[in-house]
Symmetry: none
Subunit: 218 residues, 2 copies
DNA sequence: CTGTGAATAGCACTTGCGTGCTATGCCAAG
DNA sequence: CTTGGCATAGCACGCAAGTGCTATTCACAG
């Protein structure tokens, strides 16, 4: 029936990419017809390659994998995309699925699992490994009750700074309100970001809101 | 390590319940210690039965399985619940997961799959069969596509840009996702800010949220 | 047919944000 | 007493965000 399953692999780390490609090529009837190291290559090479399925890494140099999904989907609406990555935060997973990914697998599983997952997706299903499913479930449960504030270990002063910023104040205004230097405000943000594992104010808000975006309920 | 895995099964159709119970009891170290035909029975019998995991049907006489989840969770916060049902609508699946279910399996799979899924959940994961995962993905993608109409005189495109930013995306990522230039993204923000009478993204969020700050409800 | 508004895009520029690094004073736990 | 966490502060640098301005295309209403 299927003359051939044509696969594209997008992954920046060459050794890892090779390993995946080998595992996939080893299966009869499958062939990796496109290997790409970043999003730009992917967008250039994949549309013309007649692929049936795309394996896409999330952390790529330049454009992130998630950002590339909508464009890949626009060019190839019917080709399923599987995310294959080490990133397991609920927010990233949900973003990828919203963007159009059909599956999300964490690196670290065996190659036989990978092959089985690809089969599932080709058969019209979607796949999430148990670890990924767990993150998705966490996402739902947090958005439901936001019961556990998670208490990221922020100090009272850090919360104070955050509250003012959350009301639209900028660094200079915050420093005036609290009677401290702007540099100190910046240091508080620095420490907050580190504790939350983010690198921007907006990301911090999303994280503290349990993944609910800033327009939730508007 | 584990002296015994104690399981509860809630399912109204007796024959089906028997089949499940047999399959689970057949595994060494597992024992079904509670069989219930409806939610009321479940709430009466399960809390005292020292169970490690609950298999719960969705369609039950009287209270639905989903409605029973929060109460079971309140009595036994740490005991995972797996939904086992024929209902595969995205809304029902999402509701169950929001309510606190750790997994969702469609009836019709083999008993060996069932056993494997229970193992995954006991190991701390969450599980979704490919068919269920597919529904969840559909849910996310519809949620992203369906958009609110203009209430502040903002155009559809402007809302689209805002929503991505509200999830923590920065200008460059937004431009990639929408397939437009960064300058165009900036222009959209420019117009948004003018319409709202603000001059920063955070101010725009506060304004759109009716003055409620970004940490409201956290 | 023409005007208006939306979406697109570019360029130059300023400002604020985020980060890397260092440093001091304080206070409580060990 | 010393260690460690917290709050304080400074400086320099790169980059994202926001601003001012212009311009093209397209659809649609007048």
């Amino acid at each position: 029936m299927n003359p051939e399953v044509r696969i594209a692999v997008v992954e920046d780390r060459a050794e890892f990419r090779r390993a995946i490609v080998c595992a996939l090529n080893a299966r009869a009837g499958w062939r990796v017809v496109a290997e790409c190291a970043d999003a730009a290559q992917a967008l250039r090479n994949i549309p013309g390659a007649q692929v049936n399925i795309v394996l896409l890494d999330l952390l790529l140099p330049g454009t992130s994998g998630t950002a590339a999904i909508p464009q890949l989907k626009k060019a190839l609406p019917k080709v399923p995309i599987i995310m294959l990555t080490v990133v397991d935060s609920p927010e990233e997973i949900v973003s990828a699925l919203e963007a159009g990914a059909s599956g999300y697998i964490l690196k670290g599983g065996s190659t036989s699992e990978l092959v089985a997952n690809v089969e599932d997706v080709l058969a019209g299903g979607a796949i999430m490994s148990p670890a990924v499913a767990r993150r998705v479930v966490e996402y739902f449960q947090r958005r439901q009750a936001s019961s556990a504030p998670a208490e990221f270990g922020l100090t009272a002063r850090e919360w104070e700074v955050l509250r003012l910023a959350a009301r639209g104040r900028q660094h200079g205004e915050i420093s005036m309100s609290l009677g401290i230097a702007v540099n100190t405000v910046k240091n508080h943000f620095r420490n907050i970001y580190e504790k939350l594992g983010v690198s921007s104010f907006t990301d911090a808000m999303v994280k503290l809101r349990g993944g609910r975006d800033l327009l939730d309920g508007v």
